[in-house]
Amino acid sequence: MSALMLSETVGTPVRQPLMRATGVSKSYGETIGCLDVSFTLNPGEVIGIVGESGSGKSTLLNVLSAQLSPDTGTVEYDLRHKGMSDIFRLSEPDRRRLMRTDWGIVHQNPRDGLRMDVSAGGNVGERLMAIGARHYGEIRAEGLDWLAKVELDASRVDDKPKTFSGGMQQRLQIARNLVTRPRLIFMDEPTGGLDVSVQARLLDLLRGLVRELGIAAIVVTHDLAVVRLLADRLMVMRHGRVVEEGLTDQVLDDPHHPYTQLLVSSVLQV
């Protein structure tokens, strides 16, 4: 036993992270958004960020997804061919290309992530064209394939999203984001505002797609059931700070921080 303990090793810890945030802070005047947040995300890993309204989780997501600049701290991402690079030091075209190709952003309100006056098929195909696809037949075939993946009827391919229900719009937004096979997807309350029955379907779908495609994801939500189902790891935020983090089931079943305990005990059943 003692000999083995000496040679104790833990897996092969040489993993190239996909994203690394270091000391990220962002405030709005006197109001704190997020404060000194650091973490590392590995490829294919799904991380959940929970906390009540005003805890800073959406601010953090906006910084991580380059929609908002941090006051201090860095966000590095493993760029193809370039390795870890600070996303706020990229040129504007490089950052835009990154956001269009390697990332997906699923907004809480599908209206923020879809073009409402463009057909469903167009919404999906547009992203492909943005990364250079030109063959109409292939774009349409891929679009139809993705509509099927998110369980939208092929007969609706030429309809505009404004004629869709909220749940259908959200599924279309997911298809639009996943069609370019991003390595990282950001989700802000992906099931917010949907009926419970629709939520379950969407969650199940997201869970399957994320696992099947091996996509890393950062999911912000106030719904602990969502992270239980989707996230490998959890960060609990309060007043802009991460107060507890770890394996999702560990944080939910054995919470240590007073705020996490309150959060978990306030839910009827997770």
Binding site: M1, E8, D232, L247, Q261
Partner: protein
């Protein structure tokens, strides 16, 4: 051969901040080793900390102090200090856990629920599904239910789906939390047979078995968790 599971000086105490900081000590300085092919039954009255220990072995609970080491492939992983992804890897390939209740995922059919762990560990789809069919059949889940989500199944059926899921992969380590609690005699015997087969292939097993008959059939020794209360010694 090193023990598959090695627990040393493990202590666990819950601090309930929402209830005035109440401290609930569970066990203190607990040691336990489990070797390949051995089945240890956690024993003791309700509240002794059996489930807490079992959950600690799965890294579902964090130790207050002490270590839980498991043999994972060629490595030894200390679960308390391992990174989340490492624990996930250990769970994916090495440590299987059968909880008392099935956590139902909406819309996922029983067959898929059972086949999933094997598929996630890299077993080809067809083989994982074949194994799942065999297990569901052995556990007497009627075939007409296999393509349905277990949400509407009876308690006993859900537990059998859960057991099947736990045995879908030949985990080197198995943790069983009352796997026969709501099963009839015939199905209890199926679970006993599954446990014996797992032991025979060299799995290290830790379980909570309230049923004396099951316990006598599978356990090599009893482990008294209550002996490790802080005030015990």
């Amino acid at each position: 051969m090193p023990p598959m599971i090695s627990v040393s000086a493990l202590s666990k105490e819950f601090v309930l901040h929402t209830q005035g900081g109440a401290r609930i000590p569970v066990f203190h300085q607990l040691d336990l080793e489990v070797t390949a092919g051995e089945c240890v039954c956690l024993h003791g009255p309700s509240g002794a900390g059996k489930s807490t220990l079992l959950r600690s072995l799965y890294a579902n609970y964090k130790p207050s102090s002490g270590h839980v080491r498991v043999v994972h492939g060629k490595d030894i992983v200390e679960l308390g200090s391992a990174e989340p992804w490492q624990v996930i890897e250990v769970r994916r390939r090495t440590v299987g856990y059968v909880s008392q209740f099935l956590r139902v995922i909406p819309r996922v059919p029983a067959l898929e629920v059972v086949a999933e762990p094997a598929r996630l560990a890299g077993v080809p789809d067809a083989e994982a599904e074949k194994r799942a069919r065999t297990l569901l059949g052995r556990l007497n889940i009627p075939e007409r239910l296999w393509d349905l989500a277990p949400a509407t199944f009876s308690g006993g059926e859900q537990q059998r789906v859960n057991v099947a899921r736990g045995f879908a992969l030949d985990y080197p380590i198995l943790l069983l939390d009352e796997p026969t609690a709501s099963l009839d005699a015939a199905n209890r015997q199926v679970v006993v047979a599954l446990i014996k087969e797992a032991k025979a292939r060299g799995a290290a097993i830790v379980g909570i078995f309230h049923d004396a008959e099951v316990r006598e059939a599978v356990a090599d020794r009893l482990f008294e968790v209550a002996a490790y209360r802080r005030d015990a010694a």
